[in-house]
Amino acid sequence: MTIMTAHKLQLKARDFGLVDLDEYTPCAKFADVIRVQVDGKKLNEIELNLEFCWVEYSFTHLFLDEALSKLRDSELPHRILTVVVSINLGDARFMAALLFRLSKLVNRDSEGSPEAILRAVNFFCSENCIKILIQSRIVLDGFGDATTEEFIIDGWR
């Protein structure tokens, strides 16, 4: 399902049948979806919902770099990338490593340690006035209520 308002785009990977986001092809397809959906520079918020998807760092950069480059090129201020995942590693460093370890846009020096990756993501966000919200929603039993923890990398400050 795609929800698009004036300045915001919401995409749910699962709705496109893209669950195996630990593999190249689904990640590349999701990047294509973002490329097609974001038209022009009048968008300052993208939400990528990766709930109930297998997420691992190997190929996440394919679609995250696409989303971040669209936001970077936006003409609007206060840009936000929200990523919703079903994984909570309990620490912003681990979450940054999970999503951005191989990012060519954010982690340009190919840093390996979670601390260094988080630093690189912070730097990119500050440079481009982007805020990244990583929402970890864990459903502990069945499809019931989720416990949510939010990790914020704030480039607005």
Binding site: F52, I87, G90, D91, R93, F94, S113, V139, D141
Partner: protein
């Protein structure tokens, strides 16, 4: 005259369920290396994936010098059937044939044809069989790290997909298990055995539990080796470097389980910090992710067991700012069975 020595007898605890097989002592005797084994399961009464995995891990520790094993299957039908469901025979073959080191480890000789007949006459109930699974992680130098991780990931996914009601957070648990697999590939280099058990109609049982036995040298031993002083002394070492080195030497020489686990839980500390893949956050990540998933996670290494998630729980309750040494010491319980590195997670 040629004399053939009797094979070494390996008998499991009759209840191959849960953590009970830990009670069994090691079958290894340093002074009596044996080339032939007889795995006698005649009196096994109950089997589950967790217990069988521990037994198999112990077996893998015992048979590294072996080339020949004979298996006698349980007399009772139910445990024999269960072994069939858990693909015991295939696992033995996997352990035997996947790596050069273990090639031809087993020559399976059945003392009866019972195993085969049980498998044919009592076809496993797919749903029931699917709720327990044992996977072997055999580091293979001929395959890339990515390929090995991908292979094991596919098998775990296939198992999780059988949980239609999503009784636990699949993606989160996957991240924990993969971290354990990565540790085996990056640090241990020896086979590991993962058992997973799902209880859909669970009653009082855990809705998901796993055990991960790594037959490598374990956390304490590898940390101790890593911290041992460098024999080649550098004349240009500064005072602070010398002090740090002496601290490490002291830890390597006198450190107990709590000291070494405390070291392993500090960010940036790794026995393989420079391999460009694993940056010493593995254990910490496993603990944090397990806590977020609602797990009770314990690790058993050397002679001690410690409930790792309790560390995070106490931090959450404001009792400490980080994994303190004294708390780790407080949570450690010494055991008397032979060493094995084992992670055990339960989700109620």
């Amino acid at each position: 005259m040629v004399t053939i020595a009797k094979p070494r007898q390996i008998k499991p605890w009759p209840d191959l369920t849960g953590l009970l097989p830990l009670l069994k002592s090691s079958d290894i005797s340093a002074g009596r290396p044996s080339q032939r084994f007889h795995i006698d399961l005649s009196f096994v009464r109950r089997v589950d994936a967790i217990g069988l995995a521990i037994f198999l891990a112990r077996l893998t520790q015992s048979i590294s010098a072996s080339s020949d094993a004979t298996v006698t299957l349980p007399r009772a039908d139910l445990p024999a059937q269960k072994l069939g469901e858990l693909e015991f025979e295939a696992i033995l073959k996997t352990l035997a044939l996947q790596t050069e080191e273990y090639r031809d480890l087993f020559t399976l000789k059945r003392e009866s044809t019972k195993f085969r007949s049980v498998m044919l006459t009592h076809l496993p109930n797919n749903e029931r069989a699917a709720l327990e699974k044992i996977l072997c992680i055999i580091p293979d130098k001929n395959l890339s790290r990515t390929t090995q991780i991908s292979n094991i990931k596919t098998k775990i996914k296939d198992f999780f997909r059988l949980d239609h009601g999503r009784n636990f957070a699949h993606e989160q648990v996957m991240s924990i298990l993969l971290e354990l697999v990565k540790n085996t590939l990056d640090h241990s280099g020896r086979p590991a055995i993962l058992a997973m058990k799902m209880n859909v109609n669970r009653g009082d049982d855990a809705r998901f539990s796993f055990v991960y036995c790594d037959t490598g040298e374990g956390i304490c031993s590898s940390v101790r080796k890593h911290l041992e002083p460098n024999k080649e002394k550098n004349q240009k070492e500064t005072q602070s470097e010398l002090h740090r080195q002496s601290e490490k030497s002291r830890l390597a020489e006198k450190g107990g389980f709590p000291d070494l686990v405390h070291w392993a839980l500090q960010p940036g500390n790794s026995t393989k910090g420079g391999n460009g893949v694993n940056f010493g956050l593995g254990l910490m990540l496993i603990v944090e992710a397990s806590h977020s998933a609602g797990f009770r996670l314990s690790v058993r290494d050397a002679d001690t067991v410690v409930e790792l998630t309790e560390l995070v729980q106490m931090r959450a309750e404001g009792e400490l700012s980080h994994y303190t040494h004294s708390l780790i010491r407080q949570l450690c319980v010494k055991t008397c069975s032979s060493p094995i590195l084992m992670f055990h997670g339960e989700l109620y």
